[in-house]
Structures are given as C-alpha cells and as structure tokens.
Symmetry: C2
C-alpha cells in the first residue's frame, strides 16, 4: 500500500486563532488536491477551546516552561473539553468543508490508531511569579513516532487525512501534543517536500506585532538565532520548523491564513530552496 | 486489502444512555479482540449531548414522526454540539479506553471518508399536538451506502474501527443519522454474522418498563408484530434489526450494557440461530 507518487505530500498545519479563514484554506487545498497534489492537513482549535471551556465552567490556564515556551495546562477536565473542540467541532467542520468541495477528507486524531505516539509527561515544570513549580495531572506529551504507513494507505485510497491532537501515550492515554510540532513530525515521517505552517500573522516578525518587520527568509543554520526573535506561539512554530528540517523536510513555509488565496500565496511567495522562509 | 478471515466481523452498537457501563463494554470487546474476533464498534452519545447542549444554551428538542418514531431535531446549532459530543467526547473516550486495554482502536465518524453516505432530509414532517408540521433546517438523513472496503482495510491493518454519527450527505454535508440503523447498515455491508445492539434495558419489553416482561426471541417474520410492542428508542432498534436481517446479517442480539460481562453475557445467552433474540 505504498504510493506510486515519488514526491512526498504537502503537509499543511492551520492554527485555530482568531482571523484564520478556514473556508479560504479549504478552497485552496481543494484546488491543490484536484490538481493531483497529495495533501495532509493538521489543525488546531485553541481559540474555540477557550470559548467552550469558559462556557462549560473550566476556563483555560496557560503556563510557561522554564525554557520560555507557553502552553495550555491540560488537566483531565481540560483534556475532555479539548477533545470535544479539536476532534468534534474543528475536525468535523474542516472535513465537511472539504467534502463540500469534492475532497474525500477523513478526520482522525493522533490517538486514533496510535497515529501520533509518544511519552506522557504527567507532571510539568512551569514558571509562575518567577519561581519554578511542578504541576501534576498533566495530560501532555510529545510525538515521537508517526504511523506514516497508515497515512500513506489513506492517501492511496484517495482520502485526505485531516489530523488533530490529542496524540496517544505509550500506555494508550490521550495526550495533548503541540499541533505545529506534530505536523513537523508528520511531514518528516512522510518525507514531505514542504511543511506549511499557517497562522494569523504573516510569519516571523522581528518586532512583534509590527507586520512591517516580517523576516522573509531564515537559512537553517540561523534558526536558533531567529528563535530568539520569536514571541509566544511563533517560538514553537520555529521549533517545529527546526525539527522538520532535521527530519529531512526540504522547506518550511510560515504563512498567513487570513483571506482568500492564502495557501496559494504562501506557497508561491517562496522559491524552492532548502531554507525556512518566514 | 481484503481480509483472509471468511467470517464476517462482529458489529456492536452501544448507546449513550444513563447506566451504560462503557468500561465493562470495552473490557469484553478487548477480550474478544485479543482472542481474534474482528470487531467494529458503533456508539451513540445522546444523554451527554443533552447535558452539553443545556450547558451551552441550546437545549435539545425531540420530535415524533407521523409513523411514530421519536428523534432529536437537529438544526445547525444542534448538529455542532452533537459533533462535539459524539465525535469528540464519546468517540475519543471509547478509543482511549480500548487503547488502554491494548486494542489499537481508530475512531471516525460516518462523515469521514464518506463512510456512511446518504441523502439529507432538509425538512422533516413531525407531529406536534396531534397536527403534522414541517420543520426546516434539519441536518438529518439515512445511511444508504457504507464503505465496507475502508473498514476492511482498517481491520486488515489491525485497527478496530470505532464509528459514530454524523454521516455524509451526497453533497458532502454532515447529517445526523440514527446510530442503530447505521450499525445495521454497517453489519450488512460487512457481511457480519452478528449485530449486537446494547442499551440500558435488558431488551424488548412486552410491558415497558417491566423488565420481567422481557421478550426472549423474535423470529424474523414476527418482527413487524414485535415492533408494535416496542416503545421509543426500542422501535428504532427493531427497525435496525429488520434492516440488518434483510441485508444478510445472521442474527441480531439486543443486550443490556449495564454491568460487568455485558457483551459476553449477551452473546452467550443466545443460540446461533437465524432469528432476532430480544
């Protein structure tokens, strides 16, 4: 069940923040798909999770690791709201948008079939008020293995995989994994040519939030320095970019998902070069 | 990618009503799976959907068709809550329970990959206060085609499919489909030997809710008469049973999902006969 197509697929990650135009993203992905590009879509759902969590009485809590990365604190109650929104609302909303456009999309989480497997980190070191604390009841982890064979089998059957956290711990627990880094691991496992990370900013901004300070390209050796520029979520995207490049992905594109033609524009803006356009 | 095993798989539908013990169901399914039985699990999530819908300010509305079947009125807002609970909470909760028990479960909805395809009924005739009315904005339909090849491919890869509404309209819309009837269509498409419909009652009760009035067997020709006895959801289960038998499934078992050993007990209670034990 391997695919006859030698080119790796295109892996696209689209975030779940305000302003992101999922209809525009799906318009472009359908066009690429119908033209013969094999696409794997990975998505987030953070803003919607916050909204539903508030409504259900379990407001979100964000924590910062000692190395400066910010993430959602996923206790068990949060994990369950997270699954409702990511696997329910957002995943099925994207699959329906794609099906409406004639793309036979198939949504699943990284828990399903152990697609994204890794170790659970049940306790988490965080910095609060300048002090390091340990949080228990954490349902998080990092993707260490991707079942590329399952994705290839779905692509070979004409299905576009639409993937979302959570992943699956070695012991079979649902774990919140970072979507950008999971997309990077998926791109590496599939031998993707391009990983496209779409968000609600134009890309890496040297002086966030000034969109005029967009950094157009970053060569792979300069990624560590670029990570120093990045704020918040963008730092994790660059971490994902570095992991994808280390895993053999040829280029990583950071694109803007706001407005029509966003995928096409992001892919066209960059020459095919072995670097990280940002 | 067809399976070498000549026996059809076991298709189990478990409802989402109060009292159903999903841990007990998963214990038994894991035991069957590890012993070599190929299992496809279909589930509901009605009680939890009501709870979340209330909390999110879109309380459920149930309607009765002119032929006497009761169902949820699924307008667009309801569909979206429905997807959160069925595809998010309940589906991932079951997949995680199975993964914890060493079963490589893979959850998907009938929308995914057009697994369960049928025509949408955008308007619905219902009886209210003795009068027939037409409701618009209905996102419902009936499963007409099941992609058995996709399920066989997943089984051949060692994955247990865990399936849930919604289904997919011919036009690619998400549609609420009845879980019992979708399970029946799935069992027929897979050439299943047995369809097991688990709920929170012992089976068909001649005098509902008196559990002493349990009807132990119904031969296929007597199903129409038995349907006259049935109340509420049980009528739809019997409709599903009739459809499964008409589709070639050898027996349909109505079982009680309350308590340990429920699947084993339901399957053991019935001799292998071409009838509907109830």
């Amino acid at each position: 069940m391997t695919d006859a197509n030698d080119d790796g697929p295109l892996v696209v990650k689209v975030g779940g923040s305000a302003g992101i135009d999922l209809d525009a993203v799906c318009d472009d992905l359908a066009e690429l798909w119908h033209a013969g590009t094999r696409v794997v879509l990975v998505h987030g759902g953070s803003a919607e999770t916050n909204r539903v969590a508030e409504a259900l009485g379990t407001p979100p809590r964000f924590v910062t690791s000692p190395s400066g990365f910010t993430s959602r604190h996923t206790d068990r109650a949060t994990l369950e709201v997270f699954e409702m929104v990511y696997c329910g609302s957002v995943n099925k909303g994207l699959v329906e948008r794609l099906q409406r456009r004639g793309v036979n999309a198939l949504g699943m989480s990284g828990l399903d079939g152990r697609l994204w497997e890794g170790q659970r980190k049940a306790s988490l070191r965080v910095v609060e008020d300048g002090r390091v604390r340990v949080l228990r009841d954490s349902w998080t982890g990092t993707v260490e293995r991707v079942d590329a064979g399952l994705l290839e089998a779905l692509l070979a059957r004409g299905r576009m995989p639409v993937l979302t956290p959570p992943g699956c711990s070695v012991d079979g627990e649902a774990i919140n994994v970072d979507g950008d880094r999971a997309a990077a691991a998926t791109a590496a496992a599939l031998g993707a040519d391009t990983l496209l990370l779409l968000s609600n900013v134009p890309g890496l901004l040297a002086e966030f939030p000034d969109e005029g300070s967009l950094v157009r390209h970053v060569a792979a050796p300069e990624l560590d320095a670029a990570m120093e520029l990045a704020q918040g979520r963008m730092r994790i995207k660059l971490l994902g970019a570095r992991e994808a490049l280390a895993g053999g992905v040829r280029r990583v594109v950071l694109g803007d998902a706001r407005g029509a033609g966003c995928v096409r524009r992001a892919l066209a803006a960059q020459a095919r070069a072995s670097r990280v356009p940002a």
